[in-house]
Symmetry: C2
Subunit: 345 residues, 2 copies
C-alpha cells in the first residue's frame, strides 16, 4: 500500500495525502478526515526510505558500545533507547567487542546508513579517525571517558572521585597497605581511578607503592591472574585490594579463596561498577555504583538537542557541552568494614 493507492482510493492527489501526513493543518477538515480514515483502515505507513530520500533524516541513531555481554553497557543502552523510542527513533546497537577496528567498521556502516546521530560509549577513536568522522557532520555524543577529541558533547562519570571515595573508605576501615588491581580499559577511566587512589593515599600520608599496583585485563580472569601474581610476588600480603571493576574483584576473590585467604578477614576486596552479582557473591562485594541508565538518558538527550538544532539550521558552532555525573558507594561485606554493612542488594 503506497501513497498513490491511498490517493486514488480517496479521489485526491498524492500531494494532498502527503499533506495530511505532514501538514494536516493545510488540508480542509472534510478532505482530511476522509483521507485519514482510509489511511487508518489500510494501516498505511509511509515508506521510510522514500521519506529518508527527501528529508535526509532516517529516524535512526547508532550506538556503539565496547561490549554486549555486559549488563552495565546494556543499561546505558537502555537509557539511550528509552529516549530514542519516545522520539520515534530506533537504535542500531553495535557491539565492537573491544576491537577498535570493529568500531570503525560499524561507524562506517552507520554513516552509510545515514543515521541521524551517533552515540559512542567508551570510544577508542583516535584523533585521525575522529576528524574523519567530524567531516561527515553527523551529530555525535560521547559517553564515558575517552581519549577522543573533546570537541564533542559528552557525558562522563567522575571516576576519580569515586575511586578516591572508595580508597578513603578502605583507609577508614583500618586498612593501610591498599593494593590496586587496575583494568587496562577503558584506559582514560582507569587512569582517572588510579589518580584518585594515589591522591587519597598521599593525602592520608600513606606511601604509594608501585609494586602494589597491577595492570590487569578488565575481566574476571584478569582479576584472578593479577591477584595470584600479586600474592605470589609480595613478601607480605596487602590489607586490602581495590579492583577497578567488579569483574576484576570477582576474579580476585576467587583467587584468594583458592589460596585459602579469607575475604575480608585476611584481605579486603572492593570493586567498582555495582554489577548485579556483587550483592550475591560470598562475601557481598563493596563497590561503587555508576549511574548507567542516567548516562544513557543524558547522552541521548544531548544527541537529540543536537539533532533538533541541526534541523533548525542553527549551524552556529557552539561550545561542546559536558555533563559530569557522580558515583555512589555501596558498602557491603567484602571491604571488612565493621559497622556500615547491611545493604541487601
Amino acid at each position: 500500500m503506497n501513497i498513490k493507492q491511498i490517493a486514488t482510493a480517496a479521489g485526491v492527489s498524492v500531494a494532498t495525502v502527503s499533506r495530511v501526513l505532514n501538514h494536516p493543518e493545510n488540508v480542509a477538515p472534510k478532505t482530511r478526515e476522509k483521507i485519514q480514515k482510509i489511511i487508518d483502515e489500510e494501516e498505511y505507513t509511509p515508506n521510510l526510505f522514500a521519506q529518508g530520500l527527501n528529508f535526509k533524516r532516517t529516524k535512526t541513531i547508532g550506538l556503539v558500545l565496547p561490549q554486549n555481554i555486559n549488563s552495565a553497557n546494556m543499561e546505558v543502552a537502555n537509557g539511550v533507547e528509552d529516549v530514542a523510542r519516545q522520539k520515534g527513533y530506533i537504535t542500531f546497537i553495535c557491539n565492537m567487542e573491544k576491537d577498535p577496528k570493529r568500531e570503525k567498521e560499524y561507524l562506517d556502516q552507520l554513516i552509510t546508513r545515514k543515521v541521524d546521530g551517533l552515540i559512542l560509549l567508551y570510544s577508542t577513536l583516535n584523533e585521525e579517525y575522529a576528524s574523519w568522522i567530524e567531516e561527515e557532520n553527523v551529530p555525535i555524543v560521547l559517553i564515558g571517558e575517552t581519549k577522543a577529541r573533546d570537541s564533542w558533547d559528552s557525558v562522563f562519570v567522575d571516576c576519580r572521585a569515586g575511586a578516591a571515595e572508595m580508597t578513603a573508605h578502605l583507609i577508614e576501615c583500618g586498612h593501610k597497605r591498599i593494593a590496586m588491581l587496575c583494568g587496562k580499559d577503558p584506559e582514560p577511566e582507569a587512569k582517572a581511578m588510579l589518580q584518585g587512589y594515589k591522591n587519597v593515599l598521599k593525602a592520608s600520608g600513606i606511601k604509594v607503592e608501585e609494586h602494589l599496583i597491577y595492570q590487569v585485563n578488565n575481566n574476571i580472569e584478569g582479576g584472578y591472574i593479577g591477584m595470584k601474581k600479586m600474592i605470589g610476588n609480595l613478601p607480605r600480603k596487602p590489607d586490602a585490594v581495590f579492583a577497578s571493576s567488579d569483574e576484576i574483584a570477582y576474579g580476585a576473590i576467587d583467587a584468594l579463596k583458592e589460596m585459602k585467604l579469607r575475604v575480608p578477614e585476611d584481605i579486603a576486596v572492593t570493586g567498582f561498577g555495582n554489577d548485579r552479582m556483587s550483592s550475591l557473591m560470598e562475601p557481598k562485594v563493596t563497590t561503587v555504583e555508576l549511574p548507567y541508565r542516567k548516562m544513557g538518558i543524558y547522552g541521548a538527550r544531548m544527541l537529540f538537542d543536537q539533532i533538533e538544532e541541526k534541523q533548525a539550521k542553527a549551524e552556529k558552532r557552539r561550545r561542546p557541552k559536558k555533563i559530569q555525573l557522580q558515583t555512589k558507594m555501596r558498602v557491603r561485606k567484602s571491604c571488612g568494614h565493621r559497622e556500615r554493612i547491611g545493604e541487601m542488594f
Copy 2:
C-alpha cells in the same frame, strides 16, 4: 558524494557508474577501472535509501529479544550478528523487556522499516498477531520454545532432555525429595522442563509431589522468594532444589544462606543456563549449558536461506525447517555430588 558527481568526475553517465557497482562484467575494463579508481578515492558508497527504494531490500534484519540485560540473550544476539555482519547486513536489536506489547511495537517498527528478515527470540506472539505478520511476507525465524505458530522455521533447545538429565543426576547424587523452582517464562520452555523433571522422577519410582513444585518469577528475586516460601511451608525440607534458571538458583541459594542452611550439605541446588557467574558463586553452581551462540548462528543461517530463496523468487511453499540443539551438564559443587566436582569455569 553521490553517483552523479562520480559520473561527472569520470566523464560517463550515471548508468555506467551504477553498472560498475552492480554488474561490473558489463563494463569495458578500461572504463571500469577509471570509475573504480574515482569511487575508491572519494570513498563513495551508494545511498542505501535510494538503493532500498529500488531493490526493496535494506540489508537489515531485526532481532527481537525478551531482555537486554541478560548475557544469554546477548550471546544469541552475537551469534546472529556474526553471520549477519558476514553477509553485509546490520541488525536492529530490539529489547522487548518481557512485555508483549512492546514486542508488537517493535515488530511494527521493523516492518515499517522494511527489514529483510526477522528473528524472534522466545517470542510471546499469539496466533492472531502471528498471522498478521505472516501477511507481511517477511522471512522469519523463531529461536527458543514459543507458543507462536509452528509454520515458521525455528531452532530450539531440547530443554526437556536437559531437565531430565539434571534430575537424573540429582537422583544419582543420592537425593530423593527433589523440589523444583520453575520460572514462569518463557512458558513453553518451563513446561518442557517440568515435563522432563516429572518424567524422570516417575521413571525412578519417586512420587511427584506437587507441593514441591513452585512457580516463580524467572529472576533472582523470584528464586529468593520462592525458596523462602517453600522452606516456610514445608514440614520437612527437600534434599535438593532444581531451579529452572541460574538466576532462580542464585536467589534460592541466597535465601538458604540467610536461613543458615548449607548448600549443598543441607540442601543441594542446581540451575539451568550456565550463566557466567555460576562458576563464581559460593558454592559453584551445577547447571546445564545451553548453546546460546549456536542458537543465534543457526537461526541467522536459516533466515538468510529464506532471504536468498525469496530473492531467487522460489516462492514455493516449503515445509518449515526445525533444528533442535542439545544441552550439556556442568557439574560443580552445589548439587552435592561426591565425585564429579572439579570444573574450573
